[in-house]
Amino acid sequence: MFDTALTAADFAFLAKGAGVTILVTLVSVLAGTVLGILFGVFRYQVGPVLAAPLTFVLDIFRSIPLLIQLVLANAFLGTILRLNISGFAVACIILSLYTAAFCAEIVRGGIEAVPATTRRAARSLGMTWGQDMREIVLPLATRVALPSWIGLALGVMKDSALVYIVQVTELLKSTQILITRLQEPLLLLMICGAFYFVISFPLARFGGYLEKRWSND
């Protein structure tokens, strides 16, 4: 009763779920970051009035439970548009937009943190807008934005636990499947929690370290 019925095959099954979690996270964070940078720069560049429609749409992704976003996207793409699209793709699309919505805020905050005087100085030295963005804003804004971005990426990894709703078997879902068969909820949940923790904790610490180091100068 007290020794576990967990086998190597079960660990392989969990590892597969963990792989899906990581894959969904990587795809979404990459796509979401690219989109987020585009949206963030655009919003900063055109000003709050012209960017209002974009701001509104991005705000929706931050104001509705992710579970509902996934259910709606699934119903919209599959039931209404009749697209033959996999649950994995739906999960990646929604998580990417979700990431982008938060990333745009971080990017905008990063750009705004670069003093206007510094940028004017750069332009008066004859730098173009592109050079100013690349050589001045990018390195300075990254310092402000990177720690938050790490937090966002880790948040997306944790939130990816919700993609089970579109039939993607990620880590937490794999754990539940094993609980169904083995009935060892506590042990299995501990293993699952430990996995998230092992990935998230060091990266979160690294983010904290960067924040501390970069805020000193």
Partner: protein
């Protein structure tokens, strides 16, 4: 809303996808060479997993038989109870072989075949609760799997009693986990799942204490409402399964005992 929809659609367009097809679904399945079945895999003995976590059970075999008849390979898509019909509606599966009660409410959304299985409803109680019958559940905390026939009936019953609490859980496994932990005092489920879980020894301290006075729960295969070609095929397939003795064979393999009749007296389907 429209804007989000547009943005999502645009993004989807960049993702790999195939154009919506206008051919009939039966053709689509045969052409694709794969039959995707929605099966609930925490519902023993209808759907469960073996030691290597592969899907097994009555519904899994039934899906395999259907695929064999169509000359295609079967793909089992695990769907929790509340997600069965959404999975079909969003095109994630072709057919539901998921012990789905053929209610009129559901038939507004999906097309049901003739019944392919019939369940009795049983009451399973935690031994510490002192419940010995269906009536004994009055005033207690009871639960069932969200979105199932028995959950809807039990919630109605609890409201009629006017005392006690009803809790829906997302999966059948969570219901029995909660029952064995004593979080709920009793549950109503199909007698097959109740017997199978009690016998498995995975859930100590629970027993089947009697039948629930609900109607016999006829369950059907389902697919999209407008796919008459496929629905016709499913009806004939269910008929053939009984006629050829395969239904009895599968019943003996997974459940055992008296074979439930799939017909209702004094009325045509």
């Amino acid at each position: 809303m429209k804007k989000t929809g547009l943005a999502v659609a645009l993004l989807a367009a960049t993702a790999a996808m195939s154009a919506p097809s206008l051919a009939d679904k039966l053709d689509d399945i045969i052409a694709s060479g794969t039959l995707r079945c929605a099966v609930v895999l925490d519902f023993p003995p209808m759907g469960m997993r073996d030691e290597s976590n592969n899907p097994i059970g009555f519904d899994v075999d039934y899906c395999n038989d259907l695929a064999a008849a169509l000359g295609v390979t079967a793909e089992i898509v695990e769907t929790p109870f509340p997600e069965r019909i959404p999975a079909l509606m969003s095109g994630r599966v072709d057919v539901g072989v998921a012990s789905t009660s053929d209610t009129l409410e559901r038939a507004k959304t999906v097309g049901m075949s003739i019944p392919y299985f019939a369940f009795q409803m049983a009451v399973t109680a935690n031994d510490a609760s002192g419940i010995t019958s269906f009536e004994g559940m009055k005033g207690k905390t009871v639960g069932a799997t969200a979105g199932t026939f028995e959950a809807i009936a039990l919630e109605k019953q609890v409201n009629e009693w006017g005392e006690g609490t009803f809790r829906p859980y997302q999966t059948q496994a969570d219901v029995f986990l909660a029952l064995s932990q004593g979080q709920i005092d009793a549950t109503v489920s199909t007698s097959t799942v109740a017997q199978s879980n009690v016998k498995s020894g995975n859930f100590p301290g629970i027993s089947v204490v009697g039948n629930a006075p609900f109607d016999i729960d006829y369950v059907a295969l389902f697919t999209n409402r407008e796919e008459y070609g496929l629905i016709n095929y499913l009806n004939l397939f269910v008929n053939q399964q009984v006629r050829t003795g395969r239904y009895a064979e599968l019943y003996e393999k997974w459940v055992g005992g008296d074979l439930p009749s799939l017909t209702v007296d004094n009325v045509y389907r």
